[in-house]
């Protein structure tokens, strides 16, 4: 039986080309700037309108080195804090989407539709969903969860197996992913944001919701291949529990595709966040964003600096992420 790779092994042992080093350097710089933005000696905070200097070009007004937008806000500050917004929003969203998509896809690929779940867990799951979605009589959901938990506890104490029901994991994951994929991502996000309005955490959740399906598909496809490999058969023959085989032996191999998909997902989410800010939905207006800075050009079409700088940063970041997604490992 082959020794299973450590789950973090997917992130190690890369070979970098010059372009990839440049791309990595740019992204590291961006993350650093985002991290230390409040400590930087910026002449103006990002949300402060300088009413005496509205839409002034770079280097023409006192200490507005990259100019101001049509509301008089300092472009340099918006770019720096916009990087912070981009990093703090898109990176967690992509990681969470990778986690959700990876686990869902791996479960779907490993068990397909043959998994069986004890009745107690069914009750807990159904009750939890009922309560989270605030369906009529939400307390009923809590009641179901409680009954399920009690049943599970009793079964464990008495060491008796509970009756099980089949859980079609594969059908559920693939069906949900397909349903989400049928509607363009931007439309889903705009519909949700326009109907209920969102804060930054809410926007993060919506981004995760729309970003996990491609990850799940990739990992599922890889898992379908991995589970046929001899070492999985050997693990089964050795009597290891299915969950342990899935988590410790199959999952690390199945997550390999995320190495390529994660930077692309970050790039996609970065574009999505900027698009939403450009459209004026999603983040509150006082939160600095490259997309919102781009949108101010509509108010002042001659303000080329409000178009050039954020476009440049967005292009560089997305190109860097695309370049990184083509990285190859030393073992590849």
């Amino acid at each position: 039986m082959g020794r299973p790779p450590h789950p973090l092994a997917v992130l190690t042992a890369f070979r970098f080309t010059w372009w990839q080093r440049l791309a990595l350097g740019w992204l590291v710089l961006l993350v650093l700037v985002a991290a230390v933005a409040p400590l930087l000696p910026l002449p103006y905070p990002p949300g402060l309108p300088d009413l005496a200097n509205m839409a002034v070009p770079p280097f023409s007004a006192a200490r507005h080195w990259l100019g101001t937008d049509p509301q008089g806000r300092d472009v340099l500050s918006i770019l720096v804090y916009g990087a912070r917004t981009a990093v703090l929003l898109t990176l967690p969203a992509a990681l969470l989407a990778a986690l959700v998509g990876g686990l869902a896809g791996a479960a779907a690929g490993f068990w397909e539709n043959s998994a069986r779940v004890p009745l107690a867990y069914w009750l807990v799951g159904t009750g939890g969903t009922w309560w989270v979605l605030q369906l009529p009589l939400p307390m009923l959901g809590l009641g179901l969860m409680l009954i399920g938990a009690l049943l599970a506890l009793l079964a464990r104490l008495q060491n008796r197996p509970l009756p099980t029901w089949p859980l079609p994991v594969d059908a559920l994951v693939v069906g949900t992913a397909t349903a989400l994929d049928t509607i363009p991502r931007l439309i889903v996000v705009v519909a949700v944001v326009a109907s209920i309005g969102l804060s930054a955490p809410g926007l993060l959740a919506v981004m995760v919701l729309t970003a996990w399906p491609p990850m799940a598909r990739l990992v599922r496809a890889q898992m379908l291949r991995v589970r046929q490999l001899p070492f999985i058969e050997a693990a089964r023959a050795a009597g290891l529990p299915e969950r342990q085989i899935w988590f410790r032996h199959a999952l690390p191999h199945a997550l390999h595709p995320l190495r390529t998909a994660l930077p692309l997902s970050v790039a996609g989410l970065l574009g999505l966040e900027s698009t939403l800010s450009f459209l004026g939905i999603g983040l509150p207006p006082e939160v600095a964003s490259w997309g919102r800075l781009l949108a101010t050009v509509r108010d002042e079409p001659s303000a080329w600096w409000a178009l050039l700088f954020p476009s440049l940063l967005l292009t560089l970041s997305i190109l860097s992420l695309n370049t990184l997604s083509r990285m190859s490992t030393s073992r590849a």
Binding site: L51, P70, Q71, E286
Partner: protein
């Protein structure tokens, strides 16, 4: 062998292509006949009983007519449907009789004459239950009766409670609707105006009135555009929500018989198209490409840029006038933290109105102490000081309001609330999304309150839901442009207790302010009204339910090929009905 087969299909394709090209050219040509005017947003409704915004008022003034109309150029009321300005007679010390006579040629589209009974019907509709007439009901509650005489059906008298000079203008300034078309069964004639006015809201529903209201609502919701009844010069041809409204000049309009036609009864464009383009940059692009003819209320920077650029200076004409549109910020006085005047006065010191005006209007516009324009020298209260931008004074006023700043940095302001609770001063501010002026005001206020540790969340709200959000009170503060005129000083809709839940978004009410608003509306002479208006401005500055920041100038840009465009400070700032487009020069062969 193949050639003969190919030729017919090639010819066919060429024919299809040519016809498509011809179709597209002809449709373009016809649409170019229309005078195209930019609107920021959709009128939402064209129901004359529920005019929710300026666009709705504007389109109604084209579909309908009132008895008298304000002349855009000299600000004088002139007869429209009425043959002359009304005769006014004071009766005792509490009644006023205003007698109008309708023009002999005034007629509905079906040829029936417009009569006093139509006016009486319209006034009754204002008080008919089941219709969205809350605003007009408050405005016209002073009308006691409309007396018509079968012997002289064009002559009628409006009896008013009180003897205010303002009633003369108010009684003539609403759209007259046809009784025979909207109420063919004559259901409303069974009720007197007094019965409708004094009908308790809890009274059992009357089936006749219900049927009438239903029929009226269905009429406005379900009528094909061309069949909407009105005595104005235009009929609505198409209304594509949030895209455009297309109006066509009636081929036989009664006022065509007037020679010479008064300015306000001219209707020169054969077609008018109001194009809804919320985005300023897109609208300017359309103007430059010749797809738009008139751009009213252009923002200052764009106006200056177009005026100074040689290419656009040659192709466009530019107009600037004062306006009666005042930029305001309002407080939701029903919120416990904003219920006291000291807190509202404190927050008013965080608006830097002077620099905001300079930055957004390039110095044009007028600072103000209240809702009366400084141009109205008779009524403006010059004894009052402008509201200063003074965050230090704001902090002092907050302390007067019982607020204490928490010791911990950035913790904010707190004060004891009822029943041992504690209130924290944190605010949400709403404004119409995508409006650069209001965005700048909101950002400036937020930046000014930040050093005082007053957290302000900005909530830009879509134009379609903005009024509704304000109406239901889902805000702490809001910023908007309030549109006024120099004629009427009836503040009931937006500052009286009767306007709460309708147009009084601040929910501000005190017995003293209600009394003063009623006294202004019923003032018996100009001198007493002036005194009351000055008192009112002082009271509003003391109570501060709204912060008047500055009056906007009105900037209009139009295609240079247009002539006859009259602009003025009255809303909407221009007269669409007198515009003429010069004939295009025929290109040399």
């Amino acid at each position: 062998m193949l050639v003969p087969k190919k030729n017919p299909s090639g010819v066919l394709l060429w024919l299809i292509f040519s016809s498509l090209l011809a179709c597209s050219c002809s449709s373009k040509g016809s649409s170019h006949e229309a005078i195209r005017i930019r609107w920021v947003h959709d009128p939402e409704t064209i129901n004359p009983m529920a005019l929710t915004n300026q666009a709705a008022i504007e389109v109604n003034n084209l579909l309908h007519l009132s008895l008298i109309q304000a002349n855009l150029t000299n600000h004088q009321y002139v007869p429209a449907l009425a043959a002359a300005l009304p005769e006014v007679r004071l009766v005792g010390d509490s009644l006023m009789h205003i007698t109008y006579e309708l023009r002999p040629v005034a007629a509905w589209d079906d040829g029936r004459p417009i009569l006093g009974s139509d006016v009486a019907f319209t006034v009754k509709l204002m008080f008919c239950p089941g219709l969205p007439n809350e605003v007009v009901r408050n405005q016209y509650h002073f009308i006691k009766a409309v007396i018509t005489d079968p012997a002289t059906p064009r002559r009628f008298t409006i009896v008013c409670r009180g003897q205010a000079p303002e009633y003369v203008k108010a009684t003539g300034d609403f759209c007259i609707l046809p009784a025979a078309t909207l109420d063919p069964a004559g259901r409303l004639s069974r009720f007197t105006l007094a019965e409708l006015q004094h009908r308790a809201p809890t009274a059992p529903a009357d089936t006749a009135l219900q049927a009438l209201a239903r029929q009226y609502q269905q009429g406005y919701a379900g009528h094909p555009p061309g069949q909407l009844p009105g005595c104005g010069p235009y009929e609505l041809v198409t209304w594509e929500k949030d895209r455009f409204l297309h109006l066509r000049r009636k081929s036989h309009w009664w006022a065509d018989q007037l020679h010479p036609a008064p300015l306000m009864l001219r209707a020169k464009p054969q077609q008018l198209e109001y194009v809804i383009i919320p985005d300023v940059a897109t609208a300017i692009l359309a103007l430059r490409r010749g797809e738009l003819d008139v751009f009213p209320q252009m923002p200052a920077r764009e106006f200056e840029r177009l005026r100074t650029a040689p290419a656009t200076r040659a192709a466009l004409q530019f107009y600037t006038t004062d306006s009666y549109n005042v930029v305001t910020a309002g407080f939701n006085t029903s919120r416990p933290v904003l219920a006291d005047a000291a807190t509202r006065r404190a927050l008013s010191r965080c608006f830097d109105a002077g620099r905001l005006m300079k930055a957004t209007q390039l110095g044009a516009g007028q600072r103000t102490v209240g809702f009366i324009s400084p141009s109205d020298t008779a009524n403006y209260n010059r004894a009052l000081a402008l509201i200063p931008f003074d965050p230090i004074q704001a902090a002092a006023l907050l302390r007067q309001g019982g607020w204490r700043r928490a010791a911990a940095p950035t913790a904010g302001w707190f004060r004891p609330g009822p029943a041992g609770t504690s209130q924290q001063l944190r605010l949400t501010m709403r404004y119409r999304a995508g409006d650069p002026l209001l965005t700048t005001i909101a950002l400036q206020f937020q930046a000014a309150t930040a050093p005082l540790d007053i957290p302000v969340s900005l909530l830009p709200t879509e134009a379609g839901s903005f009024s509704e959000v304000l109406r239901v009170g889902d805000f702490d503060m809001y910023a908007q442009v309030l549109k006024g005129n120099p004629f009427m000083f009836n503040f009931t809709p937006f500052l009286h207790s009767k306007g709460i839940g309708v147009g009084n978004f601040t929910r501000f009410t005190t017995p003293a302010s209600d009394r003063l608003i009623e006294a202004i509306a019923t003032a018996s002479s100009n001198a007493s009204r002036q005194r009351l208006l000055r008192q009112f401005q002082a009271l509003m500055q003391q109570e501060m339910p709204m912060v008047p920041l500055f009056f906007l100038p009105s900037r209009t840009v139009a295609d240079k090929r247009l002539s006859g465009l009259n602009v003025g400070s009255l809303k909407p700032g221009y007269l669409a009905t007198t515009i003429v487009r010069a004939a295009r020069a025929t290109p040399a062969p």
